[in-house]
């Protein structure tokens, strides 16, 4: 089996897709991550960190930078090319959906069965394979410029390669176990990447927060997977989800807990898996990690929050959708427990986080909450049975959200440029030696380049960024007809409206929530655009903000342009054929997206009839929000020092929104502090130091005591014997020596005495004495 065979075989080709980025990770980590040591105060190291004063820190060499970037790009481009081949294979295949590409290997033999590794390409995977490599490649290109001055750029590329590899593994996986492997690797990468600038306390804390929050969800998800394995005997998607008998079996078995309340096994598994997604895709109540994850570099935010990680959560649900649907029929109003959960959580989260986004001043945080909100949209869509719509929104969201994050990254980069310029300028002006280069932090306030209140007027200095940001923002808001976001959002609302008209409760709830959320989305997007780009610069740094010339700015603007293009046109793949004008242009026969992705499910979801009402609602909320934002922030852009008018309008509500409903504080009191207390007092002090150390010390003391005993025994006995015998001999000798007096008469006396004694012995032994006596 050689490479050619694999490349030409559509069943085996998917194996190679994740290989590129994963291999790039290993190569970069092992070979091209060379660093040179510079003093920590050096300019190359960037931030001045007091902990490292006087030390030398590693900064990656230019050669390694170039090599790592090349290797990383090669990895992701390979993945892209192979994905394109697979996609074209998929387009060319007949009855794609019933027939799929796939291959399987036996991996781990257990007692009763085997765990397998395998790949599966069905229609849904195919559209993911269109989206993921594009987004990832754009992010890679962007990172070349964004991280060009970072001391650890090669490590960054290694980690995002690993991240991309994990995402691709997850996408092409054919069973839950392999998918979970990709899931967990992404969790690890998110930790490593969010805490990439680990010198910053807020960064590493955010990394830990992300990891632990998603971990909580992952454990429950694993329980769900285990239960599924126990009930079904397999974890393969095809065997469970494309199998009527299996789904019925799972839907009819009562769950091992709460089964008495009517929860089926499928329902319990579904709930657990959904909890996993709630963690990974940052839904309420496990959404708290996502805004803090903005501490990572912007490409990471783009990757995590647009292309990869949060998408993985929704991907998992879309993948397992038949399981959630089993036993019910959302289109007929029968909502199973998992579906209800998704609808409620998704709908609530969509509105909840949209309200928080309205009051945020950090440009990335607005986008973070916006992501949470949009994921809520997707989840809610799935909850009401709008499978295709959710998948469609996932794809379009990835494009415009990645675009928005990267554009905001450009904005921040430009602002930092401006900050640098300003301080250099100031340093030139003042010839006072007291003001050294490091003193610019002592000017009283710390300048935050991410704070939108410090921006303004950037459309003049960063035009490309402005236009791409605008397109992305309009797409996010669902600007009618011309943006991808509109088409995907509209489809969700259409599905919800249909359910509402039938009188089903869940769709009605979802419809209302999503409409309100869409309104707020449009509003805060316009607010963000207005504060950042419109009017005049509110600070000197903003006035000098630009990206500069050269390769750095090019690599940062090119992806924006490409993604902006996709943010507009990608939506035209899913137009309803009955839509006025656009339907005829883009979907002459059928909704292409629906037609292609539909067969992923055993029962293709029926396309819904076109209704103008939800479209009008979409128009209304989108334009309404955009208009309100325009009226408040674009007509009369904010001046320097002018407070946000929203603060006075919302009054007491505003601080609540700004502080994220104080959820972080609540969690800290309820969960984190008790855990830390427990860890410190019970585990560390009591168990570790008290019991385990106690036992060890005890054993040590016992053995030391035994050792001492043996030592003393040794000294007493062996030394005693060893020393005693010579001493005895010496004493004996000294005593015996006294016989040698040198006086002959004494010798003679002894001889005579001896003679008498011997004679006596002889006499007695021969019985002579007895005889003589007798």
């Amino acid at each position: 089996m050689n490479l050619n065979d694999i490349l030409s075989n559509p069943d085996l080709l998917p194996w190679l897709i994740p290989v590129g980025p994963l291999l790039a990770f290993f190569i970069i980590m092992l070979a091209t991550n060379r660093a040179k040591m510079v003093p920590a105060t050096s300019h190359e190291y960037g931030g001045h960190h007091p902990d490292y004063d006087g030390m030398k820190v590693p900064v990656v060499t230019l050669q390694s930078r170039i090599l790592s970037v090349t290797v990383g790009m090669l990895g992701t481009l390979t993945a892209w090319v192979l994905s394109l081949i697979t996609v074209s294979n998929a387009f060319g295949a007949q009855h794609f959906g019933e027939e799929v590409f796939g291959d399987r290997l036996n991996w781990l033999a257990t007692g009763v069965g085997e765990f397998t590794m395998g790949v599966l390409v069905d229609p849904f995977t195919t559209v993911m394979l269109i989206m993921v490599p594009i987004a990832v490649t754009m992010i890679f290109i962007y990172s070349i410029g964004y991280m060009a001055h970072d001391p650890r750029q090669s490590r960054f590329f290694a980690l995002i390669s690993l991240f991309a590899g994990a995402m691709l593994t997850l996408v092409v996986a054919d069973n839950l176990l392999l998918m979970f492997v990709g899931w967990e690797i992404m969790g690890l990468c998110s930790y490593l990447l969010i805490g990439f600038w680990f010198e910053k306390e807020s960064a590493y804390k955010a990394a830990i927060k992300a990891f632990t929050t998603t971990r909580v969800a992952d454990v429950i998800m694993l329980l769900g997977i285990a239960y599924l394995y126990a009930s079904a005997g397999t974890l393969s998607f095809r065997d469970i989800l494309y199998n009527e008998a299996m789904l019925e079996h799972l839907a009819s078995t009562p769950a091992i807990i709460l089964g008495g309340w009517g929860l089926s096994a499928a329902g319990l598994i579904g709930v657990f898996l959904i909890i996993g997604t709630i963690g990974k895709s940052a839904q309420f109540p496990l959404h708290v990690w996502l805004p803090d994850a903005m501490e990572g570099p912007t490409p990471v935010s783009a990757m995590i929050h647009a292309a990869a990680m949060v998408s993985a959560g929704v991907y998992a649900i879309i993948r397992m959708y038949p399981l959630f649907e089993a036993g019910g029929n959302p289109h007929a109003g029968e909502f199973t427990t998992p579906l209800m959960l998704m609808a409620i959580v998704g709908g609530f989260t969509a509105l909840f986080s949209a309200t928080i986004a309205v009051a945020q001043n950090d440009v990335k945080r607005v986008l973070a909450y916006s992501t949470i909100s949009q994921l809520g949209f997707m989840m809610a869509a799935l909850g009401i049975g709008a499978y295709i719509a959710a998948a469609f929104h996932l794809i379009t969201h990835a494009f415009f959200k990645a675009l928005l994050f990267m554009a905001s990254g450009s904005v921040i980069h430009g602002m930092e440029h401006g900050e640098h310029h300003v301080h250099e300028h100031h340093a030139h002006d003042e010839h006072d030696e007291a003001h050294g280069h490091d003193d610019h932090h002592d000017h009283g306030h710390h300048f935050d380049p991410q704070d939108m209140m410090n921006m303004g007027g950037l459309r003049k200095t960063m035009p490309v960024t402005f236009w791409t940001f605008l397109l992305g923002g309009l797409s996010l808001s669902g600007f009618p007809l011309l943006t991808a976001g509109f088409w995907s959002k509209d489809e969700i609302l259409a599905d919800a409206w249909l359910g509402l008209t039938h009188g089903f409760g869940a769709p009605a709830f979802v419809f209302i929530m999503l409409c309100l959320a869409a309104f707020l989305t449009a509003f805060y997007t316009m607010r963000q655009l207005g504060l950042t780009f419109m009017g005049e610069p509110r600070t000197e740094e903003a006035a000098h903000a630009n990206l500069g010339q050269g390769i750095v700015s090019f690599t940062m603007t090119l992806p924006l342009i490409i993604l902006a293009f996709l943010a507009v046109v990608a939506g035209f793949a899913g137009v309803h054929p009955d839509f006025p004008l656009f339907g005829a242009i883009f979907s002459p026969e059928h909704n292409w997206f629906h037609h292609f992705v539909g067969p992923t499910l055993l029962h293709e979801p029926a396309s819904i009839d076109f209704s103008i009402v939800p479209v009008l609602f979409s128009f209304g909320v989108a334009l309404g929000g955009l208009g309100l934002g325009y009226w408040m922030y674009w007509r009369k852009p904010l001046e320097a020092g002018q407070p946000d008018p929203l603060v006075s309008i919302l009054g007491t509500v505003h601080p609540v929104l700004k502080n994220k409903y104080y959820l972080d504080e609540l969690y800290a009191t309820l969960f984190i502090q008790p855990s830390q207390w427990f860890a410190r007092v019970v585990v560390s002090d009591f168990m570790d130091h008290g019991i385990i150390d106690g036992v060890l010390h005890l054993i040590a003391r016992v053995f030391t005591w035994i050792g001492d005993l043996i030592k003393n025994l040794n000294i007493w006995l062996i030394d005693g014997v060893g020393d005693g015998i010579p001493e005895l001999i010496a004493i004996f000798g000294t005593w015996f020596r006294r016989i040698q007096t040198g006086r002959i008469q004494q010798y003679m006396l002894l001889v005579v005495i001896a003679m008498i004694v011997i004679a006596l012995i002889f006499a007695v032994s021969s019985g002579f004495l007895v005889q003589a006596a007798g």
Binding site: T741, G742, I744
Partner: protein, 102 residues
């Protein structure tokens, strides 16, 4: 006739007296005199046993004769040594000749 055991008794007494002199006297010449006594006691024994047991066999008398010879030689040499030692050390006390003391 005198019973043999009387001669033997006298000889034994004489022998023990000589032994005492050898062991206990402080003067070297006195020791030598003790030796002569012992030798005489031996002679009495020899002759006594010869007379009472084997009067026809000359072994007894011959042996006694040889004892004479030995006694004479020993006395001569011993006294020569005593005189020589006296010349060196100016002392005839054996107790003082303890240079071989260990």
């Amino acid at each position: 006739m005198i019973p043999l055991w009387m001669y033997l008794l006298v000889a034994a007494a004489l022998f023990c007296m000589g032994a005492y002199a050898v062991l206990a006297r402080r003067n070297a010449v006195a020791i030598l005199m003790g030796v002569e006594l012992m030798l005489n006691a031996v002679n009495i024994n020899l002759v006594g046993f010869w007379r009472y047991q084997q009067p026809l066999n000359m072994a007894g008398q011959a042996f006694a004769a040889f004892v004479f010879v030995i006694a004479a030689a020993e006395a001569a040499v011993g006294l020569a040594i005593i005189i020589s030692v006296y010349r060196q050390r100016k002392s005839v006390i054996p107790d003082e000749a303890d240079t071989l003391k260990g």
